[in-house]
């Protein structure tokens, strides 16, 4: 089981998909202006990567080498479509808020990268651990970024319609730059700088 926990921990800190690998920045920058959207995106991401990693790892001996990339793409796209439909059916508000970025998960480099680099070469438990770790890392990064963006750009935190708290002055005059994609870059850069400063992540 130590192998499992090792692979699991790897994705959270050592090779965090957002802060260290700097992969799949498109959804990171686009949907982190509110915490709701970030949570929705994290969930979709986790579902897709876990399911596709699992399937690909299960079939890794069967998949012929020449067609492996098409097969990965089909598998990932299938799960993305399924997740999309699930979202549309059960959480339509988040589905419509995420818009095109949900479908764009099908071409997410991180998911395809993990499938190609890890799941197709490792046994099922390790692949599952990797997918879980990556999901948790991605989710943490998205939550962190969106927390600060929503706090500064909207002046308060609202999760699924429940107003958790609002800042006294900022609520009337939110720093709207943080709601724009420039703010996403700023927050992400500052968080990376902060993590490097305190030594949590190191240069790759």
């Amino acid at each position: 089981m130590s192998g499992f926990s090792k692979e699991f921990k790897k994705g959270i800190v050592i090779s965090n998909p957002v802060f260290v690998l700097a992969l799949s920045l498109c959804p990171v920058l686009a949907v982190t202006d509110t915490l709701d959207k970030a949570l929705g995106m994290s969930g979709a991401f986790a579902l897709v990567i876990i399911a596709s990693n699992l399937i690909i790892s299960l079939m890794r001996k069967m998949i012929p080498d020449v067609v492996r990339i098409p097969v990965f793409v089909i598998i990932i796209a299938t799960f993305v479509s399924i997740v999309e439909m699930l979202f549309q059916a059960y959480i339509p508000a988040i589905y419509s808020a995420l818009g095109i970025y949900l479908s764009l998960l099908a071409v997410n480099c991180l998911i395809l990268g993990r499938a190609e680099a890890f799941a197709s070469r490792n046994k099922v438990s390790d692949s599952l651990a990797d997918a879980l770790g990556m999901s948790v890392g991605f989710c943490l990064a998205l939550i962190l970024i969106s927390f600060f963006r929503e706090l500064l750009g909207k002046g308060g935190i609202t999760v699924f319609g429940n107003e958790l708290f609002t800042l006294p002055v900022l609520a009337e005059n939110p720093i709207s730059v943080f709601g724009m994609s420039m703010g996403a870059f700023l927050v992400m850069g500052l968080l990376i700088a902060f993590f490097k400063q305190i030594g949590v992540i190191k240069d790759v």
Binding site: V67, V71, I74, I75, T78, M85, L86, A89, A93
Partner: protein, 179 residues
């Protein structure tokens, strides 16, 4: 025989995967549709079917208050939204249906308390039919008077204006939210 199979194995595999994923997606879609349809209130659907007869289900966005209608093959038919205006006696509520983002498909009046005589004048003079196929741009020019393609029924001008304003109210603020 075995060699030949090995040679074409990747192709077989690919086809297999495609078939499997199609099957998966079809079943997922079925669930999706079931869920979506189970969430619809039948009376609302019936109302909407007055606008779009072929509508089989709809989605409703709480934040923008827009109904999006689909037919049985999941093709988007159009949008519907409520609007209010004030006639001679009081509030007139209409449900306006948009065919696409530019044209009014049809309208139905949900609620009104106008005098029956006046209202019948509207009905008899085919007032409501004027909205069918009306371009949205023609609803913009003035808020107080009727849009370009609509003629008021003489003798019942205020009710005509109430209906028109209700339609305008339904459409104008929501155009930017149509997707």
């Amino acid at each position: 025989m075995l060699d030949r199979f090995k040679k074409y194995y990747p192709l077989f595999f690919l086809v297999l995967v495609i078939l499997a994923s199609s099957a998966l997606m079809m079943s997922a879609e079925k669930i999706n549709r079931l869920v979506l349809e189970s969430r619809q209130a039948p009376e609302t659907l019936a109302l909407l079917q007055q606008l779009f007869t072929e509508a089989t289900f709809y989605t409703y966005r709480v934040d923008t208050e827009i109904y999006t209608l689909y037919d049985s093959r999941r093709h988007k038919l159009g949008y519907a939204m409520y609007g209010e205006g004030f006639g001679y006696r009081g509030k007139i509520t209409v449900l306006a249906g948009l065919k696409d983002k530019e044209t009014i498909h049809n309208i139905i009046v949900i609620n009104q308390i106008e005098d029956i005589s006046y209202w019948n004048m509207l009905k008899n003079n085919n007032f409501f039919a004027q909205f069918i196929g009306l371009k949205i741009e023609e609803c913009y020019p003035s808020f107080a008077w009727l849009p370009g393609g609509v003629d008021a029924v003489s003798g019942s001008t205020i009710s005509s204006r109430g209906v028109t304003n209700a339609v305008r109210d339904a459409i104008l603020d929501k155009l930017e939210y149509l997707d």
